[in-house]
């Protein structure tokens, strides 16, 4: 091949090298640039924390049925719903929790408590990527007199911007 052809091949090789390198950079960005959706874990941690606040060694903690518990729920359970000041998160709360304590045999409700952004409750049961993550779980517990209760817990985490996009 003549010298002109050799030069052309060299340019071609550089072009191919550049294309491959650019594609690798794009692929790495496409994979690692997307966030992991950790909201199901966050919702699970939140529910576990509430369960620990309500029940201890099989018994519902003292004070749970008192009016003060409803009023100071976050303080008593040491919950903090504060979030970063991004995407307007401070304007609408990113969490919602719900506690319902029912008598085990009659399903009569003895305590209902909800806290956080109530609008998020509508998203439960709709398992779509862009929607807030909702977790509903139950536990069994006793009071100090040995009566049985079913405790239904709901925790919802929004934070869509940082976990999906």
């Amino acid at each position: 091949m003549n010298k002109k052809g050799d030069k052309l091949i060299s340019v071609y090789w550089f072009a191919v090298l550049f294309i491959v390198a650019a594609a690798i950079v794009y692929m790495v960005h496409a994979f690692y640039g997307k966030p992991y959706d950790v909201r199901p874990i966050e919702a699970d941690i939140l529910i576990s924390k509430i369960a620990r606040c309500l029940s201890e060694t099989g018994h519902i903690k003292e004070g749970v049925f008192e009016e003060n518990f409803k009023e100071n729920f976050r303080g008593i359970c040491k919950l903090n719903f504060r979030v970063e000041d991004v995407y307007g998160w401070r304007e609408q709360e990113q969490y919602y929790v719900e506690i319902e304590i029912l008598k085990f045999d009659s399903t009569e409700s003895v305590l209902f408590l909800e806290d956080g952004n109530k609008q998020l409750r509508d998203f439960c049961g709709r398992d779509e990527k862009n929607f807030p993550r909702c977790l509903e779980r139950s536990l069994y517990s006793l009071d100090k007199d040995g009566n049985s209760y079913k405790i239904n817990l709901v925790s919802i985490v929004r934070k869509t911007e940082k976990n999906v996009y």
């Binding site: 191919v16 496409a30 994979f31 992991y36 950790v38 099989g58």
Partner: protein
């Protein structure tokens, strides 16, 4: 001279065509790889194995402390009878199957006995009328909470070499 020049040009055309096809193949391979990376990036999940379950542990404690009409706790009943009675069996189904059956592929609750073997010991579950046979290849270790991949076991000491076990299995077939 003319024939030599003509042959040379034909050679160059063939070589150029080879490079063009090679470039196209490289681009196609890269596009496929980019599509795969995009798809995987959009569908990646944070995979984690649960090593404990707070709610199930608390339910288990409360269940074992539940008293029957004679004031005997379920734990005492299980120790005494060695297996479920109608009262504690039905209660166990109402709690563990109804509360956690939808979350896990299998829920098993019952008595397990320690069997020493050549390759270490295993906890063999006793079959019962309420939860059936213990799911296979999941029981390893002794004492406390033991977790394996895709299974979670909460164990309560009953007597020497015998435990009360609550087992959740997901992603495994029995």
């Amino acid at each position: 001279m003319f024939i030599k020049k003509f042959k040379n040009k034909r050679g160059q055309t063939g070589e150029t065509l080879t490079w063009i096809i090679a470039t196209l193949i490289i681009i196609v391979i890269l596009l496929i790889a980019i599509s795969i990376a995009n798809f995987m990036g959009n569908n990646k999940k944070f995979d984690y194995v649960k090593k404990t379950d707070t709610l199930a542990s608390k339910s288990l404690f409360a269940y074992l402390l539940t008293e029957d009409t004679e004031g005997q706790t379920v734990y005492e009943q299980l120790k005494e009878a060695g297996n479920f009675t109608k009262f504690n069996g039905e209660l166990a189904v109402d709690i563990f199957k109804k509360f956690y059956g939808g979350e896990f592929q299998q829920v098993w609750f019952g008595i397990s006995n320690y069997n020493k073997g050549l390759m270490g010991g295993t906890w063999n579950g006793e079959s019962n009328n309420y939860f059936g046979n213990k799911p296979k290849s999941t029981a390893v270790g002794q004492g406390g909470v033991v977790a394996e991949k895709n299974s979670l076991s909460i164990m309560i000491h009953k007597e020497e070499n015998s435990i009360i076990e609550l087992l959740f299995v997901w992603g495994l077939k029995s």
